[in-house]
Assembly symmetry: C2
Homo-oligomer: 509 residues x 2
Amino acid sequence: MPDGECVAMAAMLPGLADEPLPVPDVADLDLPPSTVDVPATLSPFCSTGPEHRAGHTYGKAYRDVVRALRGDVRAAPDVVALPRTEAELVSVVDWAGSANVAVIPYGGGSSVVGGVEYRGGDHSGDHRGVLSLDLTRMDRVLEIDEVSRAARIQAGALGPVLEDQLRPHGLTLRHFPQSFEFSTLGGWLATRAGGHYATLYTHIDDLVESLRVVTPAGVSESFRLPGSGAGPSPDRLFLGSEGILGVITEAWMRVQDRPSHKASTSVSFSSFDAAVEATRAVAQSGLHPANCRLLDQGEAMFSGAGDGRNSVLVLGFESSIGPVDDRLALAVDIAGQHGGTARAGSGSGSGDAVEAWRSAFLRMPYLRDGLARMGAIVETFETATTWDRIGALITAVRTEVGAAVREICGADGVLNCRFTHVYPDGAAPYFTVIAPGRPGAELSMWDEIKAAASETLLKHRATVTHHHAVGRDHRPTYDRQRPEPFAAALRAAKNALDPNGILNPGVLI
Amino acid sequence: MPDGECVAMAAMLPGLADEPLPVPDVADLDLPPSTVDVPATLSPFCSTGPEHRAGHTYGKAYRDVVRALRGDVRAAPDVVALPRTEAELVSVVDWAGSANVAVIPYGGGSSVVGGVEYRGGDHSGDHRGVLSLDLTRMDRVLEIDEVSRAARIQAGALGPVLEDQLRPHGLTLRHFPQSFEFSTLGGWLATRAGGHYATLYTHIDDLVESLRVVTPAGVSESFRLPGSGAGPSPDRLFLGSEGILGVITEAWMRVQDRPSHKASTSVSFSSFDAAVEATRAVAQSGLHPANCRLLDQGEAMFSGAGDGRNSVLVLGFESSIGPVDDRLALAVDIAGQHGGTARAGSGSGSGDAVEAWRSAFLRMPYLRDGLARMGAIVETFETATTWDRIGALITAVRTEVGAAVREICGADGVLNCRFTHVYPDGAAPYFTVIAPGRPGAELSMWDEIKAAASETLLKHRATVTHHHAVGRDHRPTYDRQRPEPFAAALRAAKNALDPNGILNPGVLI
């Protein structure tokens, strides 16, 4: 983001810096010396170059951006491996196990929860060094089954890279997380990413036919199946395992015909509570909108989809076989029964609010970095809970996190809410907090806000993450949410598959 | 089933007995003496009565029916516990762990895969005795959340029992496996049962919000969540665990408004291959029919839905918000493009073929028992595979299993196929084999047919079970299908949660 834009944006919030922090040059970084020598067999695809090491130090969390801006790369991995084949990847994992080197699987590096940053081992003592295992050279669509509409895709493919390979076949994976350009299939699978669809196929999990996973105990490959009831799902154990059980190298994914019919509109509500009721009614209607995103007043204004007085429900339908205007009309009708006013001229075209929201959605990651450069604290957290609790949860977040922000930052800042995904039994609210930071204290301020937010989620029995993953940042809350017998089972599974404890230590368990 | 009906039915198949075998009286059974004395604290809800022990010996597999007809109850449990509360259930599990008594969780006893029959421990030597843990006294809907449309239901509730409790609220779980009357929520969850919906929500898994599970290592309770991305799903580890990790005692389930609009029809095809193509096109259309069941020529005739020359695709749509005739018309149109002829007058009423199929579906379990009493071998097996493999799979089953039946039974018998559930990327074919058995040799003949069927499924990388579970009968094939690292993880999880190995030993691992 150009410096001028950072300044313009920051002008919307009082208390920020006048000029953005400069982005440091990699040559100026004070990288600690690498303590790891890889064997000659691995060196053709391993690097200890400062660009590679610095570039693989962090994900894209706010704390990562702040530390990167400060030139703090103390957590840099000792070496970055960029295998070109699964055989090379296996040789890395095997060697790391024998050498007691921690292995951090790395796709696009878009983790916002400390998922790719080594912070020490969790129980078995320190590792002798840290290797970042970058999968992006394994980015091919290896096979396409047009009959079943499925594709075998290597885990290191970034979103646009895999879509480019599917497009000539008229197919699409249609998984568009906000990080789409900078995240990989393997990362989505390992973190149970949330995607394009607001209903029904909300997570990447729902698009998986089979997985191939390299574990220190051997390669796990499930049958390609449209459905099965044979024991607990093997794939579901690896989905969300965040690299602690194995490294996903490829997957057969359900792909789709590209949609030929779309219709979308936006519906305004003067009351947020009424908008929530309308959203619930649509979610429970069985209409299955592709888009069903509720923006509260602040979020609607921030994204340019509203004027700050109304909440906005963005609705969209799509199909590859026929018009969807009827379904949109039914959804709009339901929203109208709850006091919503649809934008005039809704239908097959896209409404202004729809476009504004879409544009803001895609730009948000850049905006976040720009705001960080102006000294703002930016925290986004997302969750999910059932409809019966959602009003109380949102009120509590506004009250409790709002109070924490005032106390920590000395100003109200911004606290907006939108729903990213909805279900018949609940919704996934996503909160954005922006407030002025004190230079040098940003990280501890952010930590305090994060802690306040997590406490509120826990108190309301809302999940610590609906689609951002647990990583290292959500560990304290995750540990208190997860059933203890399941934690015991997961630890046991980890010990069986990764007996030396080298895989992404400190994450999940 | 009255004796007269058995005789009439058997007349359709040459080579069967003239008279049905009599059903033995429980007083005539030669039950082995019970070797287990439960402590006084458990005795108020435990029984060693012959009715209880004999009644909990088997599930409802063909081999179970044959052995029951022979009066063979050597596998009877030593004692049956019928706890009324979770606290009582916990006390049973705790005591069994200390006494080295195997615990077989038992719901409706409808397993068709040897899921509730003790056949010895798998590794840690024999158990001192066997306890059947019957959950049917825990059958209450404990709480209903009408806002989120969810209900907290005890695991021992049989299908009709829980639906009776939901009905006054205008709600339904709408999970109708063929065993509906004789199976419980806990059984469905532990075995990943397939239900009412032919698309989308095919398995009970999809209706689960949270689970409560008693394990020897403590009680596991997940948060009620509409969706989450916090690590691997705890619920998905217990779903399909078939009682080896813990005993599911209750669950928050997603329930629904009762449908107010339905439309269904049947479409005939002279070519089975064309019917498969039509079914695939409907499955990939995004129309999400509630019913989309393809019957091959033989299955259509057998159920009274066809004349034996045509395959029949039964289509149904339903909604609680508005008419579904348009969606039915679109699906019929797609089927027509593949050569299908819709029954005249299709629409909101139900067609004759639809009713005939539904009636046959509900009566099949009785039919099976009746045929067994006439000396027939009856084997049903079901699977799932992707569309690209489905034609070859069905051909192979007809050829290879057909040949095995001829060799083993000396007659062609019946070998029919229907699809129970369909997906955008594949389908779940269900096969019925009926052939004349030789008195006294039925079980070994059935074993041989089962082995031939399993071998064909394995060769085509089709799942050993789409919704009947693994139990003990599918173990040999399951062991060869499951990724070995996942097996290692599951064994480790089992050891962590059930260190004494008392829970349903011999199942899954």
